[in-house]
Amino acid sequence: MTATALTAAEAGLVSCETCALLSRPVEAAEPGYCRRCGGKLEWRRHHSIQYTWALVVAAAICYIPANVLPVLNTTTLGSTDSDTIMGGVALLYTTGSWPLALIVLVASVMVPLGKLIALSYLLISVQRGSIQSNHDRTRLYRLVEIIGRWSMLDVFVDTFTVALIQLQPLMSVAPGPGVLFFAAVVVLTMIAAESFDSRLIWDSDATRRFDA
């Protein structure tokens, strides 16, 4: 395929987002419903870019407190320690377990950040009507979608730790406010990736006259 290939929309056709059946729209303004699966047909997803942008911005905002605020409060014999994500990475690294540190760094810091950057890049490129490296962008989008579900690992570990380590009065662990923001980042980026209409990647600026 080339970047100049005809898109369904350009051909006056609309594809079903659920079952991918190509249909002829009832009328341009209201494409109607898929004959096969009954899903609502849309030229391009309604407000997709705006939605995605909103969610990406929200996730980016949440990303700051997620990293600044402590995710875990450990109380050991009366003295309380608060750990942020980066603090945990640093601690793991200094205590010698650099593989673990790397895992945490990748899963908890780089992946969410990478998702945000990737989505932003996709949105900007779509808005500018770029038709360069459409293949790579599609691949990037897929990667973002796949990786999204694994980002909750951190939150998962955190909640498990809190539930398991309750050895009052010797030691107890409580979740910090950072973990909420971190979860918000993960969830928001997942929804953002979901709300992004990948068909937009293939719309050139000239042809993109459909609402997005």
Partner: protein
């Protein structure tokens, strides 16, 4: 023109859906996220208390991000950084104080490191064994804000919330006291020593003490404090008296206070009032001497063993004390003599006076110094009252000044007009004996041992010569006299032989006569024997009768003694009386 134009090859107009330019509701999500994040940030910034720096000499167990600052056991902050000062001599600890505690961080707030402490008076900070050291905090009184502090080396003993009052004790030395040493009132622990410091001139020690609330009102201006450290052992005629305030005071030292009964009832003393710390309880509770008169005594003898504070007695009763011992130079006679200044407390003597009948005399003494003066003058000038040094203890050689009557001493005139009267003295008996012994030794020293020795040598030489003469004389006798002696002895032997012959006859006749005389004596004795020992010898009969008489007498005597034994009263009442 509503015809169907589908078949026409005319480009069909496309329907461009209306661009909905309105902003989607979804933007609420990032706005919400921003609001929450901003809210947290604002709350964080608002709840951010001041950051302070505390300078420690040594930051034992202080860790950044871990060590808490606690006030009344409540966390009010946390150490954020620990670093050495620029000249590496101290430790600068940066700490973040909670917003709620901002008001506490004032100029004179105190910080110190709380660590487990085991002292003689107790164990503290055990909790830090598990949780690690923390920084203790004590609020100040100032209102002025301050962000840089120097930590205390040790925890302050008294917390600001504690009720009570602080006083200052002035002591000659610290003794065994220290910070935390207990203060006792009637053997109850009433407070503690909170600080001590050398006075600026370095001549005394100022102790800061804190007396806790219920007890501080017993501290009034008349209160006396004394060092109650250790044991107070006194040996009196009643035995050994051992006093100590408590076991802690015995080991760690302590201070006790009490208000002596003679002190006027007064309002509680104001805080920070200075008191003297007395050496011991008797000194502290000694009655202050209201009336005192000073006198000077000049002694021409050793004052070794006499020191200020030594007692002055009058007829063996305490009457004052020595206040100064020194030397005095008399320019007229070029005489250096011992000068002893004493002070007399007439009140003590008055207290010794006995009985209600002497109330008037007592009155006399108390009322007027003039009368006392006259009295003293009388007994010194008329009755011969003299001061004398005496040994209080033969072992330690301590001396004291005793006033006693010495009627045989020459009368003296005392110059009473002087500011401090000079009272007459007599040499002490001990020094008297010493002087005599010294005199004897001096005399012995003066003996002309050398001439005596020389004479003796001469005499001995003479003796030697005499002995030699004697020897020659003996020799001469041996050679000259012996042959003559031999002849003489032979002549003597001859002479004795003749004497023997002559005597033999004479002796024989004498013996014959003696034999005859003995025979006659024998006859006489035989006749006497017949008269005395014969069967009907009259002497023997009489003797027997006499013995029988004696036997009877003895029997009746036994009867009498038996009777007397049973009736001893008969000696007084007679036989009849006894029967009754």
């Amino acid at each position: 023109m509503p015809e169907d134009t589908d078949h026409l090859d005319v480009p069909r107009a496309t329907v461009v859906p209306r661009r909905r330019a309105r902003i989607s509701v979804v933007w609420v999500i990032p706005i919400l996220a921003a609001v929450v994040a901003l809210g947290i940030a604002v709350q964080r910034i608002l709840s951010e208390g001041p950051t302070i720096t505390i300078v420690f000499k040594i930051a034992e167990g202080v860790e950044a991000g871990k060590t808490a600052i606690k006030y009344k056991d409540v966390n009010i902050g946390r150490v954020t950084a620990v670093r050495l000062s620029d000249d590496y001599s101290k430790v600068e600890v940066t700490a973040k104080i909670d917003k709620s505690a901002t008001g506490l961080i004032v100029e004179d707030a105190k910080f110190w490191i709380v660590e487990p402490r085991v002292t003689l008076s107790g164990i503290s900070g055990l909790g830090t064994l598990l949780s690690g050291n923390y920084i203790g905090f004590e609020v100040g009184k100032s209102k002025k804000k301050e962000r840089k502090f120097t930590a205390l080396a040790v925890a302050p003993v008294i917390t600001s919330g504690q009720l009570g009052r602080e006083f200052v004790l002035k002591a000659a030395d610290l003794g065994s006291l220290g910070v935390g040493s207990p203060i006792y009132y009637r053997r109850l622990q009433a407070g503690q020593v909170i600080a001590y410091d050398l006075t600026s001139d370095g001549k005394a020690v100022d102790l800061k003490i804190f007396v806790n609330a219920p007890y501080d009102r017993y501290v009034n201006p008349g209160t006396r404090f004394w060092n109650a450290s250790g044991l107070d052992v006194s040996i009196g005629s009643g035995g050994v008296d051992v006093r100590t305030e408590s076991l802690v005071a015995l080991i760690a030292g302590g201070v006790a206070f009490d208000t002596p009964p003679f002190a006027a009832r007064a309002e509680p003393a104001a805080a920070s009032t200075a008191f003297t710390l007395y050496r011991d309880r008797p000194t502290a509770l000694k009655h202050p001497e209201a009336i005192s008169t000073r006198y000077v005594l000049y002694f021409h003898e050793s004052l070794r063993g006499l020191s200020a504070g030594a007692p002055v007695t009058l007829l063996g009763l305490p009457a004052g004390e020595v206040i100064d011992v020194g030397l005095d130079f008399d320019p007229k006679t070029f005489d250096v003599r011992g000068r002893v200044e004493i002070v007399s407390y007439p009140e003590r003597l008055i207290a010794e006076m006995h009985g209600a009948t002497q109330a008037t005399e007592r009155e006399t003494f108390t009322r007027s110094g003039q009368q006392r003066h006259t009295f003293l003058r009388n007994i010194i000038e008329q009755r011969g009252l003299r001061a004398q040094l005496r040994s209080g203890s033969l072992i330690t050689g301590q001396l004291y000044v005793a006033f006693d009557y010495f009627p045989n001493t020459p009368k003296v005139k005392v110059d009473w007009s002087r500011d401090v009267a000079v009272l007459p003295v007599v040499p002490s008996t001990i020094t008297d004996i010493e002087a005599k012994l010294t005199g004897i030794v001096a005399k012995l020293d003066k003996l002309p041992y050398e001439t005596i020795g020389a004479d003796l040598t001469k005499v001995l030489a003479g003796v030697s010569v005499t002995l030699q003469d004697a020897s020659t004389a003996v020799n001469r006798i041996h050679t000259d006299v012996t042959p003559e002696l031999k002849t003489t002895l032979q002549a003597a032997s001859l002479a004795l032989g003749t004497v023997d012959g002559m005597l033999k006859n004479e002796v024989n006749t004498t013996l014959e006569e003696l034999r005859r005389a003995l025979a006659t004596a024998d006859g006489v004795l035989k006749s006497t024997d017949a008269a005395l020992l014969g069967k009907d010898a009259p002497g023997q009969l009489e003797l027997r009768e006499a013995l029988q008489e004696v036997t009877r007498a003895a029997r009746s005597l036994r009867g009498l003694t038996d009777f007397l034994e049973r009736h001893p009263e008969s000696l007084i009442w007679g036989k009849n009386g006894a029967k009754q």
